[in-house]
Protein backbone atom coordinates (compact mmCIF):
# COMPACT_ATOMS: atom_id res chain seq x y z
CA UNK A 1 0.00 0.00 0.00
CA UNK A 2 1.23 3.53 -0.67
CA UNK A 3 2.62 5.49 2.24
CA UNK A 4 1.47 9.04 3.00
CA UNK A 5 3.74 11.36 4.94
CA UNK A 6 2.07 14.29 6.64
CA UNK A 7 3.54 17.57 7.96
CA UNK A 8 3.85 18.06 11.70
CA UNK A 9 1.65 21.16 11.86
CA UNK A 10 -1.14 19.16 10.23
CA UNK A 11 -1.04 16.14 12.51
CA UNK A 12 -0.89 18.50 15.48
CA UNK A 13 -4.49 19.38 14.64
CA UNK A 14 -5.49 15.73 15.03
CA UNK A 15 -3.87 14.49 18.24
CA UNK A 16 -2.66 10.92 18.03
CA UNK A 17 -2.37 10.86 14.26
CA UNK A 18 0.97 9.45 13.03
CA UNK A 19 2.97 11.34 10.44
CA UNK A 20 3.27 8.23 8.25
CA UNK A 21 0.24 6.17 7.25
CA UNK A 22 -0.34 3.37 4.78
CA UNK A 23 -3.57 4.07 2.92
CA UNK A 24 -5.50 2.58 0.02
CA UNK A 25 -6.00 4.47 -3.23
CA UNK A 26 -5.13 4.42 -6.90
CA UNK A 27 -4.64 8.17 -7.21
CA UNK A 28 -4.10 11.18 -4.95
CA UNK A 29 -7.80 11.94 -4.59
CA UNK A 30 -8.60 8.36 -3.53
CA UNK A 31 -5.69 8.39 -1.14
CA UNK A 32 -6.89 11.61 0.51
CA UNK A 33 -10.38 10.12 0.76
CA UNK A 34 -8.87 7.16 2.60
CA UNK A 35 -7.00 9.60 4.82
CA UNK A 36 -10.25 11.40 5.69
CA UNK A 37 -11.92 8.08 6.46
CA UNK A 38 -9.07 7.23 8.83
CA UNK A 39 -8.82 10.73 10.32
CA UNK A 40 -12.13 12.58 9.90
CA UNK A 41 -11.66 16.24 9.06
CA UNK A 42 -8.43 15.80 7.06
CA UNK A 43 -10.30 16.40 3.82
CA UNK A 44 -11.25 19.94 4.84
CA UNK A 45 -7.70 20.78 5.90
CA UNK A 46 -6.13 19.75 2.60
CA UNK A 47 -8.85 20.34 0.02
CA UNK A 48 -11.18 23.14 -0.83
CA UNK A 49 -14.33 23.05 -2.90
CA UNK A 50 -14.06 21.67 -6.38
CA UNK A 51 -12.43 19.63 -4.96
CA UNK A 52 -9.02 21.24 -5.30
CA UNK A 53 -5.85 20.98 -3.27
CA UNK A 54 -5.61 24.09 -1.10
CA UNK A 55 -3.58 26.97 -2.51
CA UNK A 56 -0.68 26.64 -0.07
CA UNK A 57 -0.50 22.85 0.02
CA UNK A 58 1.53 20.73 -2.36
CA UNK A 59 1.38 16.97 -2.87
CA UNK A 60 4.32 15.01 -4.26
CA UNK A 61 4.13 11.43 -5.51
CA UNK A 62 7.50 9.73 -5.54
CA UNK A 63 9.18 13.12 -5.56
CA UNK A 64 7.15 14.68 -8.35
CA UNK A 65 4.54 17.36 -7.79
CA UNK A 66 1.08 15.87 -8.22
CA UNK A 67 -2.56 16.81 -8.60
CA UNK A 68 -5.65 14.94 -7.49
CA UNK A 69 -5.67 12.76 -10.60
CA UNK A 70 -2.04 11.68 -10.34
CA UNK A 71 -1.79 7.85 -10.15
CA UNK A 72 -0.35 6.28 -7.03
CA UNK A 73 1.31 2.86 -7.09
CA UNK A 74 1.37 0.30 -4.29
CA UNK A 75 4.98 1.23 -3.46
CA UNK A 76 4.56 4.99 -3.83
CA UNK A 77 5.54 7.51 -1.20
CA UNK A 78 3.27 10.55 -1.10
CA UNK A 79 4.42 13.69 0.66
CA UNK A 80 1.98 16.39 1.75
CA UNK A 81 3.91 19.66 2.08
CA UNK A 82 2.74 23.03 3.43
CA UNK A 83 4.13 25.86 1.34
CA UNK A 84 6.77 28.14 2.78
CA UNK A 85 4.52 31.13 3.32
CA UNK A 86 3.35 33.53 5.96
CA UNK A 87 4.99 36.21 8.07
Amino acid sequence: MPEVRLPGNLVDLFPGTPRRLELAGGNVQELLASLDARVPGMHDRLLTTGPEIREHIRVFVDGRQADLATPVGPESVVHVIPAVSGG
Binding site: N9, D44, R45, T48, H56, S85
Partner: protein
Protein backbone atom coordinates in the same frame (compact mmCIF):
# COMPACT_ATOMS: atom_id res chain seq x y z
CA UNK B 1 -15.46 34.88 44.01
CA UNK B 2 -15.80 35.01 40.25
CA UNK B 3 -13.20 34.25 37.64
CA UNK B 4 -12.83 36.54 34.65
CA UNK B 5 -11.74 34.98 31.38
CA UNK B 6 -10.45 37.30 28.70
CA UNK B 7 -10.30 35.80 25.21
CA UNK B 8 -7.99 37.39 22.66
CA UNK B 9 -7.80 36.52 18.98
CA UNK B 10 -4.61 37.48 17.15
CA UNK B 11 -2.95 37.11 13.81
CA UNK B 12 -1.02 34.25 15.37
CA UNK B 13 -3.36 32.21 17.50
CA UNK B 14 -5.64 32.78 20.46
CA UNK B 15 -4.69 33.75 24.00
CA UNK B 16 -6.65 33.40 27.22
CA UNK B 17 -6.08 35.61 30.24
CA UNK B 18 -7.36 34.78 33.72
CA UNK B 19 -8.05 37.04 36.66
CA UNK B 20 -10.27 37.24 39.69
CA UNK B 21 -13.04 39.79 39.89
CA UNK B 22 -10.63 42.48 41.10
CA UNK B 23 -9.19 42.35 37.57
CA UNK B 24 -5.77 43.63 38.64
CA UNK B 25 -3.52 40.64 37.98
CA UNK B 26 -3.77 38.61 34.79
CA UNK B 27 -2.19 35.31 33.79
CA UNK B 28 -1.65 34.86 30.08
CA UNK B 29 -2.06 31.43 28.43
CA UNK B 30 -1.45 30.50 24.81
CA UNK B 31 -1.02 30.53 21.96
CA UNK B 32 -3.93 28.26 21.11
CA UNK B 33 -5.04 27.40 17.58
CA UNK B 34 -1.35 27.83 16.80
CA UNK B 35 -0.62 28.67 13.18
CA UNK B 36 -4.13 30.00 12.64
CA UNK B 37 -5.21 33.61 12.36
CA UNK B 38 -7.96 33.98 14.97
CA UNK B 39 -10.47 36.72 14.26
CA UNK B 40 -12.92 36.08 17.08
CA UNK B 41 -13.10 34.07 20.31
CA UNK B 42 -16.38 33.56 22.17
CA UNK B 43 -17.62 31.82 25.28
CA UNK B 44 -20.86 29.89 25.00
CA UNK B 45 -22.66 29.81 28.35
CA UNK B 46 -24.93 27.04 27.04
CA UNK B 47 -22.12 24.45 27.05
CA UNK B 48 -19.32 26.21 28.90
CA UNK B 49 -17.01 25.98 25.89
CA UNK B 50 -14.75 28.52 24.22
CA UNK B 51 -15.00 28.84 20.43
CA UNK B 52 -12.51 30.44 18.05
CA UNK B 53 -13.08 31.57 14.47
CA UNK B 54 -9.79 30.74 12.82
CA UNK B 55 -8.14 30.48 9.43
CA UNK B 56 -4.82 28.89 8.52
CA UNK B 57 -2.89 30.01 5.44
CA UNK B 58 -2.32 26.32 4.72
CA UNK B 59 -5.27 24.45 6.11
CA UNK B 60 -8.10 26.92 5.58
CA UNK B 61 -10.94 28.07 7.83
CA UNK B 62 -12.25 26.22 10.87
CA UNK B 63 -14.06 26.78 14.13
CA UNK B 64 -12.12 25.55 17.15
CA UNK B 65 -13.80 24.42 20.36
CA UNK B 66 -12.33 24.05 23.82
CA UNK B 67 -14.67 22.40 26.34
CA UNK B 68 -12.29 23.05 29.25
CA UNK B 69 -11.35 26.74 28.98
CA UNK B 70 -8.31 26.18 26.82
CA UNK B 71 -6.86 22.90 28.10
CA UNK B 72 -7.85 20.91 25.00
CA UNK B 73 -9.11 21.92 21.59
CA UNK B 74 -10.85 20.29 18.65
CA UNK B 75 -11.83 21.88 15.37
CA UNK B 76 -14.28 21.39 12.53
CA UNK B 77 -15.14 22.79 9.13
CA UNK B 78 -17.85 20.25 8.36
CA UNK B 79 -20.54 22.07 6.42
CA UNK B 80 -18.65 25.38 6.27
CA UNK B 81 -18.94 25.57 2.51
CA UNK B 82 -21.01 27.15 -0.21
CA UNK B 83 -20.73 23.87 -2.13
CA UNK B 84 -18.65 22.92 -5.14
CA UNK B 85 -20.62 25.30 -7.35
CA UNK B 86 -20.44 28.25 -4.97
CA UNK B 87 -17.70 30.70 -4.09
CA UNK B 88 -14.80 29.36 -2.08
CA UNK B 89 -15.11 30.06 1.61
CA UNK B 90 -11.84 31.77 2.46
CA UNK B 91 -12.13 32.78 6.13
CA UNK B 92 -14.31 32.25 9.13
CA UNK B 93 -14.46 35.62 10.79
CA UNK B 94 -16.83 35.49 13.74
CA UNK B 95 -18.45 32.96 16.03
CA UNK B 96 -21.35 33.97 18.24
CA UNK B 97 -23.57 31.94 20.57
CA UNK B 98 -27.28 32.65 20.66
CA UNK B 99 -30.68 31.03 20.69
CA UNK B 100 -29.11 27.83 22.04
CA UNK B 101 -26.90 27.39 18.99
CA UNK B 102 -23.80 28.88 17.39
CA UNK B 103 -23.59 31.25 14.47
CA UNK B 104 -20.52 31.82 12.31
CA UNK B 105 -19.84 34.69 9.93
CA UNK B 106 -17.55 34.01 7.00
CA UNK B 107 -15.84 35.44 3.93
CA UNK B 108 -17.28 35.87 1.34
CA UNK B 109 -20.06 37.23 3.47
CA UNK B 110 -22.51 34.63 4.67
CA UNK B 111 -23.97 33.13 7.81
CA UNK B 112 -23.74 29.56 9.08
CA UNK B 113 -25.31 27.94 12.12
CA UNK B 114 -24.47 24.92 14.21
CA UNK B 115 -26.91 23.06 16.42
CA UNK B 116 -24.33 20.56 17.69
CA UNK B 117 -21.71 22.69 19.42
CA UNK B 118 -19.72 23.38 16.29
CA UNK B 119 -19.30 19.78 15.12
CA UNK B 120 -21.25 20.49 11.93
CA UNK B 121 -22.47 23.66 10.25
CA UNK B 122 -25.15 24.53 7.77
CA UNK B 123 -25.54 27.56 5.57
CA UNK B 124 -28.31 30.02 6.46
CA UNK B 125 -29.12 30.41 2.81
CA UNK B 126 -31.73 33.13 3.13
CA UNK B 127 -29.15 35.88 3.66
CA UNK B 128 -27.25 35.27 0.43
CA UNK B 129 -30.63 34.90 -1.21
CA UNK B 130 -31.26 38.60 -0.62
CA UNK B 131 -31.76 40.33 -3.99
CA UNK B 132 -28.92 42.76 -3.27
CA UNK B 133 -26.28 40.00 -3.09
CA UNK B 134 -24.87 40.58 -6.60
CA UNK B 135 -24.10 44.17 -5.53
CA UNK B 136 -22.12 43.20 -2.43
CA UNK B 137 -18.57 44.51 -2.71
CA UNK B 138 -15.60 43.84 -0.40
CA UNK B 139 -14.17 46.51 1.87
CA UNK B 140 -10.57 46.84 2.94
CA UNK B 141 -10.91 43.83 5.26
CA UNK B 142 -12.64 41.72 2.62
CA UNK B 143 -16.27 40.80 2.01
CA UNK B 144 -16.75 39.66 5.57
CA UNK B 145 -19.74 38.99 7.77
CA UNK B 146 -18.33 40.18 11.07
CA UNK B 147 -21.16 41.06 13.42
CA UNK B 148 -23.90 38.69 14.60
CA UNK B 149 -26.42 39.97 17.14
CA UNK B 150 -29.11 37.53 18.28
CA UNK B 151 -32.16 39.08 19.97
CA UNK B 152 -31.99 37.18 23.28
CA UNK B 153 -35.76 36.96 23.85
CA UNK B 154 -36.75 36.09 20.29
CA UNK B 155 -35.12 33.02 18.72
CA UNK B 156 -36.39 34.04 15.29
CA UNK B 157 -34.77 37.46 15.35
CA UNK B 158 -31.17 38.22 14.46
CA UNK B 159 -29.13 41.07 13.02
CA UNK B 160 -25.91 40.64 11.07
CA UNK B 161 -23.41 43.12 9.64
CA UNK B 162 -21.13 42.81 6.65
CA UNK B 163 -18.44 45.31 5.72
CA UNK B 164 -19.26 47.60 2.81
CA UNK B 165 -22.68 45.94 2.63
CA UNK B 166 -24.52 46.88 5.79
CA UNK B 167 -26.85 45.62 8.48
CA UNK B 168 -29.53 43.01 7.81
CA UNK B 169 -32.30 41.74 10.05
CA UNK B 170 -34.30 38.53 10.04
CA UNK B 171 -37.42 37.97 12.10
CA UNK B 172 -38.14 34.47 10.81
CA UNK B 173 -35.05 32.58 11.87
CA UNK B 174 -33.02 33.40 8.77
CA UNK B 175 -35.45 32.56 5.98
CA UNK B 176 -35.81 36.17 4.85
CA UNK B 177 -33.73 39.26 5.53
CA UNK B 178 -34.27 43.01 5.34
CA UNK B 179 -31.50 45.57 4.83
CA UNK B 180 -31.38 47.99 7.79
CA UNK B 181 -29.25 50.93 6.70
CA UNK B 182 -31.61 53.87 6.36
CA UNK B 183 -30.19 57.07 7.80
CA UNK B 184 -26.55 55.96 7.62
CA UNK B 185 -24.22 58.15 5.55
CA UNK B 186 -22.32 56.66 2.63
CA UNK B 187 -19.83 59.48 2.06
CA UNK B 188 -17.88 57.42 -0.47
CA UNK B 189 -20.97 56.95 -2.63
CA UNK B 190 -21.45 59.79 -5.13
CA UNK B 191 -25.15 58.98 -5.45
CA UNK B 192 -27.88 58.93 -2.83
CA UNK B 193 -27.44 56.35 -0.03
CA UNK B 194 -28.37 52.92 -1.31
CA UNK B 195 -30.22 50.15 0.48
CA UNK B 196 -26.92 48.30 0.76
CA UNK B 197 -23.33 49.50 0.48
CA UNK B 198 -23.22 50.82 4.03
CA UNK B 199 -19.86 50.20 5.65
CA UNK B 200 -20.89 48.97 9.09
CA UNK B 201 -17.88 48.35 11.30
CA UNK B 202 -19.57 47.07 14.45
CA UNK B 203 -22.91 47.24 16.18
CA UNK B 204 -24.45 45.97 19.39
CA UNK B 205 -27.81 45.63 21.10
CA UNK B 206 -28.32 47.91 24.09
CA UNK B 207 -28.74 45.97 27.32
CA UNK B 208 -32.25 44.89 28.17
CA UNK B 209 -33.82 46.53 25.14
CA UNK B 210 -35.86 44.84 22.49
CA UNK B 211 -34.30 46.65 19.56
CA UNK B 212 -32.06 49.58 20.45
CA UNK B 213 -28.82 49.28 18.52
CA UNK B 214 -25.59 51.28 18.61
CA UNK B 215 -23.41 51.26 15.51
CA UNK B 216 -19.89 52.40 14.65
CA UNK B 217 -19.84 52.89 10.92
CA UNK B 218 -17.14 53.94 8.50
CA UNK B 219 -19.09 57.20 8.32
CA UNK B 220 -20.11 58.04 11.87
CA UNK B 221 -21.68 56.61 15.00
CA UNK B 222 -25.39 55.84 15.04
CA UNK B 223 -28.26 54.74 17.22
CA UNK B 224 -31.46 52.99 16.21
CA UNK B 225 -34.47 52.51 18.46
CA UNK B 226 -36.45 50.50 15.93
CA UNK B 227 -34.19 47.54 15.26
CA UNK B 228 -32.30 49.27 12.48
CA UNK B 229 -35.31 50.41 10.46
CA UNK B 230 -33.93 53.92 10.89
CA UNK B 231 -30.66 55.23 12.30
CA UNK B 232 -29.89 58.59 13.91
CA UNK B 233 -26.33 59.88 13.90
CA UNK B 234 -24.84 60.37 17.36
CA UNK B 235 -21.25 61.18 16.40
CA UNK B 236 -21.77 64.47 18.27
CA UNK B 237 -18.62 65.65 20.04
CA UNK B 238 -16.43 62.67 19.14
CA UNK B 239 -13.10 63.83 17.68
CA UNK B 240 -13.58 61.80 14.48
CA UNK B 241 -16.45 59.92 12.93
CA UNK B 242 -14.24 56.91 12.13
CA UNK B 243 -13.48 53.90 14.29
CA UNK B 244 -14.16 50.20 14.48
CA UNK B 245 -15.29 49.00 17.90
CA UNK B 246 -18.63 49.40 19.65
CA UNK B 247 -19.03 48.27 23.24
CA UNK B 248 -22.25 48.39 25.24
CA UNK B 249 -22.91 48.23 28.96
CA UNK B 250 -24.18 44.93 30.41
CA UNK B 251 -27.10 46.61 32.23
CA UNK B 252 -27.41 50.29 31.32
CA UNK B 253 -28.89 50.75 27.83
CA UNK B 254 -27.67 54.35 27.71
CA UNK B 255 -23.96 53.53 28.10
CA UNK B 256 -21.64 52.63 25.24
CA UNK B 257 -17.95 52.92 24.38
CA UNK B 258 -16.13 53.70 21.14
CA UNK B 259 -12.52 54.37 20.14
CA UNK B 260 -12.35 57.13 17.52
CA UNK B 261 -9.51 56.78 15.04
CA UNK B 262 -8.16 59.09 12.40
CA UNK B 263 -9.88 58.79 9.07
CA UNK B 264 -8.83 56.11 6.57
CA UNK B 265 -6.84 58.67 4.63
CA UNK B 266 -4.98 59.68 7.83
CA UNK B 267 -3.81 56.28 9.06
CA UNK B 268 -6.63 54.85 11.22
CA UNK B 269 -4.90 55.33 14.57
CA UNK B 270 -5.65 57.18 17.80
CA UNK B 271 -5.81 60.95 17.06
CA UNK B 272 -2.78 63.07 18.04
CA UNK B 273 -0.97 59.83 18.99
CA UNK B 274 -2.89 59.81 22.28
CA UNK B 275 -4.92 56.74 23.20
CA UNK B 276 -8.46 57.35 24.41
CA UNK B 277 -11.77 55.58 24.78
CA UNK B 278 -14.94 57.64 24.60
CA UNK B 279 -18.06 56.82 26.61
CA UNK B 280 -21.63 57.97 26.43
CA UNK B 281 -23.92 57.77 29.43
CA UNK B 282 -26.93 59.26 27.70
CA UNK B 283 -27.50 57.05 24.70
CA UNK B 284 -25.22 58.99 22.43
CA UNK B 285 -26.31 62.50 23.37
CA UNK B 286 -22.77 63.32 24.46
CA UNK B 287 -19.41 61.61 24.76
CA UNK B 288 -16.68 61.84 27.41
CA UNK B 289 -13.00 61.22 26.72
CA UNK B 290 -11.43 58.56 28.97
CA UNK B 291 -7.65 58.39 28.96
CA UNK B 292 -6.46 57.92 32.54
CA UNK B 293 -3.74 55.30 32.39
CA UNK B 294 -3.63 55.14 28.60
CA UNK B 295 -0.50 56.29 26.73
CA UNK B 296 -0.70 59.98 25.87
CA UNK B 297 2.33 60.38 23.68
CA UNK B 298 3.69 58.49 20.70
CA UNK B 299 0.67 56.16 20.77
CA UNK B 300 -0.41 55.42 17.23
CA UNK B 301 -2.79 52.67 18.21
CA UNK B 302 -5.13 51.03 15.79
CA UNK B 303 -7.99 48.99 17.23
CA UNK B 304 -9.89 46.59 15.01
CA UNK B 305 -13.63 45.94 14.99
CA UNK B 306 -13.75 42.89 17.23
CA UNK B 307 -11.11 44.17 19.62
CA UNK B 308 -13.25 45.51 22.49
CA UNK B 309 -14.97 43.48 25.19
CA UNK B 310 -17.14 44.45 28.15
CA UNK B 311 -17.66 42.20 31.15
CA UNK B 312 -20.78 41.82 33.29
CA UNK B 313 -19.36 42.73 36.69
CA UNK B 314 -20.39 45.78 38.70
CA UNK B 315 -18.62 48.02 37.78
CA UNK B 316 -18.30 46.74 34.26
CA UNK B 317 -14.82 45.96 32.97
CA UNK B 318 -13.88 47.27 29.55
CA UNK B 319 -11.02 45.83 27.48
CA UNK B 320 -9.42 46.60 24.16
CA UNK B 321 -6.45 45.41 22.14
CA UNK B 322 -4.33 47.06 19.48
CA UNK B 323 -2.87 45.96 16.22
CA UNK B 324 0.53 46.50 17.84
CA UNK B 325 -0.23 43.85 20.47
CA UNK B 326 -1.04 45.87 23.58
CA UNK B 327 -4.01 44.88 25.70
CA UNK B 328 -5.65 47.43 27.99
CA UNK B 329 -8.17 46.86 30.77
CA UNK B 330 -10.41 49.03 32.89
CA UNK B 331 -12.21 47.67 35.96
CA UNK B 332 -14.26 50.84 36.41
CA UNK B 333 -16.18 51.29 33.16
CA UNK B 334 -13.38 53.18 31.50
CA UNK B 335 -12.54 55.72 34.21
CA UNK B 336 -9.01 54.31 34.55
CA UNK B 337 -6.92 51.90 32.51
CA UNK B 338 -3.96 49.56 32.82
CA UNK B 339 -1.90 47.84 30.15
CA UNK B 340 -2.20 44.13 31.01
CA UNK B 341 -0.23 42.64 28.10
CA UNK B 342 2.28 44.42 25.93
CA UNK B 343 3.71 42.08 23.36
CA UNK B 344 0.95 39.93 21.94
CA UNK B 345 0.74 39.40 18.18
CA UNK B 346 -1.50 41.75 16.24
CA UNK B 347 -4.80 41.70 18.13
CA UNK B 348 -7.94 41.07 16.12
CA UNK B 349 -10.51 40.41 18.83
CA UNK B 350 -11.17 40.78 22.54
CA UNK B 351 -14.03 39.06 24.32
CA UNK B 352 -14.66 38.47 28.00
CA UNK B 353 -16.84 36.36 30.23
CA UNK B 354 -17.32 36.07 33.98
CA UNK B 355 -17.34 32.55 35.39
CA UNK B 356 -18.55 31.42 38.78
CA UNK B 357 -15.63 29.83 40.62
Amino acid sequence: MSRVLLMVGTKKGAYLLDSDEARRDWQVRGPFCDGFEVRDVSYNPADGAVYAAATSPWFGPAVFRSPDLGETWTHSSAGLTYGDDGPKLTRVWSVTPGHGRLYAGVEPAGLFRSDDQGATWRHVEGLRGHPSTPDWMPGNGGLILHTIVPQPADPQRLWVGASSVGVFETTDGGETWTARNRGVRQDYNPGPPAEVGSCVHKFALAAGTEQTLFQQNHCGVYRSDDGGASWQEITGNLPTDFGFVMGVHPRDPQTAWVIPLTTPEKGRYTPDAKAAVWRTRDGGGSWARLASGLPQENAWLSVLREAMGVDSLDRAGVYFGSQSGQLFASADEGDSWREIASYLPQIASVDVTVLAD
